[in-house]
Each structure stands twice: as structure tokens, then as C-alpha cells.
């Protein structure tokens, strides 16, 4: 059993296994749309390896962080930018 930690996704508390990616936590929170494209289309992760930039969210106030490359930590505030 892996240790559980708490993060917040758009203000909602969520318990997740320690060590999972922020992208995974967002998906576990039931969110599909990670960001809006410049034309306003819904977008979510594509590559899973940090090259497409479609999974960018705000983490602890830092904008444009690739959520597939970031790991959840206790108390992390995750904001999913939605138009």
C-alpha cells in the first residue's frame, strides 16, 4: 500500500497515492479539460512525456507547468485553467 497524500484540485481536496503525477491527480478528480487552446478548444494531455504542452496547469501559483512531468506533493494547490 502506498502512502496517501492530499492535494487540492480547483479548491477540492483529493487524496492520492504519493508519487503520482499532477496530470494523474487531475484525471482522478474527474477533470478532462486541462486547458483551452488559443482558439478556445478543450485540450488534455497528449504525449505523456513533456513535449506537447497540452497538459499545462497552474501549480502552487506557478503558471504553465506541465502536469505530466510534475509530481504531487502534500498540500499542493492545483488549478486547472478553464475558459
Amino acid at each position: 500500500m502506498s502512502r496517501q497524500i492530499e492535494v487540492r484540485v480547483d479548491g477540492r481536496a483529493l487524496r492520492v497515492p504519493a508519487g503520482i503525477s499532477v496530470a494523474a491527480a487531475i484525471a482522478r478528480a474527474g477533470v478532462a479539460v486541462f486547458q483551452r487552446s488559443v482558439g478556445g478548444e478543450p485540450r488534455g494531455p497528449l504525449c505523456g512525456m513533456g513535449i506537447c504542452f497540452e497538459c499545462r496547469v497552474v501549480i502552487d501559483g506557478r503558471r504553465d507547468v506541465r502536469s505530466c512531468m510534475a509530481v504531487c506533493s502534500e498540500g499542493m494547490e492545483i488549478e486547472v485553467a478553464r475558459a
Partner: protein
């Protein structure tokens, strides 16, 4: 800016980079490895849930530890000033690595092709979904269609199945006879044959179609269904996730920037894995996509040669055997021309800048299209749309320029500045036995 002096500098800690590092260090060189990810292992030996290293990686780590290889994790190569001067960023801090030999082991990324609906959330790459799932992405009970081309489809389908996904279909665009012809070559590589048989046995319950490819994904804020073209008409499947990738493309940006010859999208190397630029070696998928055994075999040759030692003939032979298989792979999974016609006029091709297919058709070159439409000007720096427009229109990549990844201005601005305190502990990680 931090200064690091190295003898053999290896870019990428995937199978090829790890093998190169071990070989170079065991041949007596002072070795540094740069890796953008949080842990070594590359695309295949990804840790589950980011905390534990993959067991295979751990074995490599132990080997590297014995030889004093320094591995710099979460460190991204962003610029270079010739092959002896490599700039990296770690946690916003710029470092300059001076080296006499360079081994490029930057691997590959997936080829994504545009079709209507491919930009919907829930449509991911095949390796992409695999990577997400390994990082904890929920997949249990989800209805998944795996589509596209190449051996990765089966490997990923199997790992999704193990995690409780409901696999509705594996759709391989190549015709069955091409894949059967490939299977006949497998006797040359018993290990691959055993892997393939195991995969087929485990996936026997999963519907699999050849000559079958996605035409359209639909959904409003997330994919809900996919329409596929099969040999006997089209099929529509309701699904929660569509994983779609059309093979792998070598990550040659740094090689191209350094002036190494590139042929058919891969870095050209000689028998010693040396490129057209003396002192610059290539190993693994950067030299052509051929799977993990080839990556390791090439890494060992490249690392030894870069360290100035004689490469054992046995190693060369092992590499050549693996290499022979690659041409069969390429032939079996050649992309069919119909895939060039999947995009509708309004289908987005450049996702960063939302440039539609119709805006691109008719442009003279990638650069002309970029200046006219912004295609490729966004954050991904053309890593997604570049290979797609190459396949769709035959365009060659525009020139590579630093930064190779978007970086905070402060980091780039630090180039050339001297910083009194040297090592930044956050950025310099040697392996420990228990990691």
C-alpha cells in the same frame, strides 16, 4: 552559471544513454549523463508512480555507481555552442558542460497524425497513455481503443489490460500480411519471438484488426466515440479513451543543431556510432527506431568508442544483428497513403497555435508556412506538428535553434556569467544504492 568539466558527456538516460555511460566509464572515462526526467530509464523503463525506479534501471544504476558516473537528473539540454559546450537547465539554473566527446541518446517521440477530433481530451498517444498510466492516471474499468501503428500498440495494450482497462479494439493500420512477414523474421531474435508470443497470448481476448485506422473521434469536452476504417467498412465504438500513435520519430533536434548529418529523419552514424561531426556519437532511437535491445547494443558501442577504447567485435556483431531487424520493422509498419487524407480542411494540425489543415495546404515549406500561419511557433516548438507536416506535405524541418525547450529567460540570461559557488546539490544527483 555553473561550470562542469566532463570527458564523455551523454545526453539522455534511456537504455542507450545508460549503456553508453556504463561502457564509457568502464573503459576509464570520466562520464556525465544529462537527463530531463526525474528518474533515469527513458521511455521504456519508466518508474511506476514516480517514486520507485524501474527494476532494470536499478540494476543499471548500481553498475553506474561502481564506476563513478555522475547522473544529472531533471536537467534539460537547452543550448549548445558547438559539440564541446553544452548548456543545461536544472530548476531554473544554467550550467555549462565542457566535454571532449558527446554521445547523443535523446531517444524518440511519437508520431501523431491529425484526424477530425484528435485534439479532444481523452485522445492521447499510445506511448503517451502508457506513460500517463504509469504515473498514476486512472484507467481501470475504462473503455479504451488503441490505434495507429507499430509494435508499441501491443505492448501498451497489454499493460493497459493488466491495469484493468477494457480494451475494445487494437487497430493496426498495416495490413496483416506485412506483420506476418515481420513475424517470420523473429526467429533471428529468439528473445523478441518469446516476447511477441507472450503478448499475443495475453491479448488473445482483445479484438485486433489490421488495415484499420481512425477516421474521426467525437465528443464535446472529451472523446466519446471513435469511427474507424476497417477492411470491411467502418466501425463506430463508444469509448472513454482513444490512444493513437503512428510510430516513433527520432529526437534529432540537438544532433541537427550540431550539424550532424541526418538521413530520413534519423542521425547518421558509422560503425563506431560516430556521426559526421567528429567526437559526436549517437546511440538508441536517435539513430533510427529499433527497440530497446538495439538501443542498449548501440549505447555500449558508442560509449566505448567515445571513451577512446577498442569496441569488442562481439558487441559490434550484437548491434548488427539487432540492426538487421529494424529494416523489417520499417517495412512492416510503413504508413499507408490514406493517412494523409484523414484531416478535414478545418482539422487543427498545429495544436499550439490552432492552425487548420486548409491554412497549410499549398505552402512552399515548413518555414513559409510558419511565417504565414504560425504553424510550429508555439510551446511544443514543432515537436508535434513537425513530423505530421513532414508526413502530410513532405516538408523538412525548419532550422533548430536554442532553446531546445522553452526556458525561463533568467536561465538563458545566465549563460556566460560566472558564479562563485559551484555545485548546486539539487541538480547534481549521484545514485545511491537504495534509490
Amino acid at each position: 552559471m555553473r561550470e562542469v568539466a566532463s570527458e564523455v558527456l551523454i545526453l539522455g538516460a534511456g537504455p542507450a544513454g545508460l549503456a553508453a555511460a556504463a561502457a564509457a566509464a568502464e573503459a576509464g572515462a570520466r562520464v556525465d549523463v544529462i537527463e530531463g526526467n526525474r528518474s533515469p530509464g527513458g521511455q521504456i523503463w519508466r518508474p511506476e508512480g514516480a517514486t520507485e525506479a524501474h527494476p532494470t534501471t536499478r540494476r543499471w544504476q548500481q553498475r553506474l555507481l561502481r564506476t563513478g558516473v555522475r547522473v544529472h537528473l531533471e536537467t534539460t539540454v537547452v543550448a549548445a555552442d558547438g559539440p564541446r559546450c553544452i548548456y543545461t537547465v536544472c530548476g531554473g539554473e544554467m550550467s555549462r558542460f565542457r566535454t571532449s566527446r558527446l554521445v547523443l541518446a535523446t531517444g524518440s517521440r511519437e508520431l501523431f497524425l491529425p484526424f477530425p477530433g484528435w485534439t479532444l481530451p481523452g485522445v492521447t498517444g499510445v506511448g503517451g497513455l502508457q506513460a500517463l498510466v504509469k504515473s498514476g492516471w486512472p484507467i481501470e474499468g475504462k473503455r479504451v481503443v488503441v490505434a495507429g501503428s507499430g509494435p508499441l500498440l501491443l505492448a501498451v495494450a497489454d499493460s493497459l489490460r493488466r491495469r484493468g482497462a477494457k480494451l475494445l479494439l487494437i487497430a493496426e493500420q498495416a495490413p496483416r500480411r506485412a506483420v506476418v512477414r515481420l513475424a517470420r523474421q523473429l526467429w533471428r531474435s529468439p528473445r523478441k519471438a518469446i516476447q511477441a508470443l507472450g503478448l499475443m497470448a495475453r491479448l488473445v481476448q482483445v479484438p485486433m484488426r489490421y488495415a484499420c485506422w481512425p477516421l474521426r473521434a467525437t465528443g464535446d469536452e472529451c472523446v466519446r466515440s471513435v469511427l474507424l476504417q476497417g477492411s470491411d467498412g467502418s466501425i463506430e465504438l463508444e469509448c472513454d479513451a482513444l490512444a493513437c500513435g503512428f510510430g516513433l520519430v527520432p529526437e534529432i533536434a540537438i544532433a541537427a543543431y550540431l550539424g550532424c548529418d541526418v538521413e530520413c529523419g534519423a542521425m547518421s552514424v558509422d560503425a563506431q556510432q560516430q556521426s559526421s561531426v567528429p567526437g559526436v556519437y549517437g546511440a538508441g532511437e536517435i539513430t533510427g527506431v529499433g527497440g530497446v535491445e538495439l538501443a542498449v547494443a548501440e549505447g555500449a558501442v558508442a560509449g566505448t568508442a567515445a571513451a577512446g577504447a577498442r569496441v569488442p567485435v562481439r558487441w559490434l556483431a550484437r548491434r548488427d544483428r539487432q540492426q538487421a531487424f529494424v529494416s523489417h520493422l520499417d517495412r512492416a509498419f510503413a504508413l499507408r497513403p490514406e493517412l494523409r487524407r484523414l484531416a478535414a480542411p478545418e482539422t487543427i494540425v498545429c495544436r499550439c497555435e490552432d492552425v487548420a489543415f486548409e491554412a497549410l495546404a499549398g505552402a512552399e515549406s515548413a518555414r513559409a508556412a510558419k511565417l504565414a500561419t504560425r504553424c510550429g511557433m508555439g510551446s511544443c516548438q514543432g515537436r508535434v506538428c513537425g513530423p505530421a507536416t513532414r508526413f502530410l506535405f513532405g516538408w523538412h524541418h525548419d532550422r533548430v535553434r536554442p532553446p531546445f525547450f522553452p526556458v525561463p529567460m533568467a536561465a538563458l540570461a545566465a549563460i556566460g556569467t560566472v558564479q562563485p559557488s559551484s555545485a548546486n546539490p539539487a541538480c547534481y544527483q549521484t545514485f545511491t544504492m537504495d534509490c
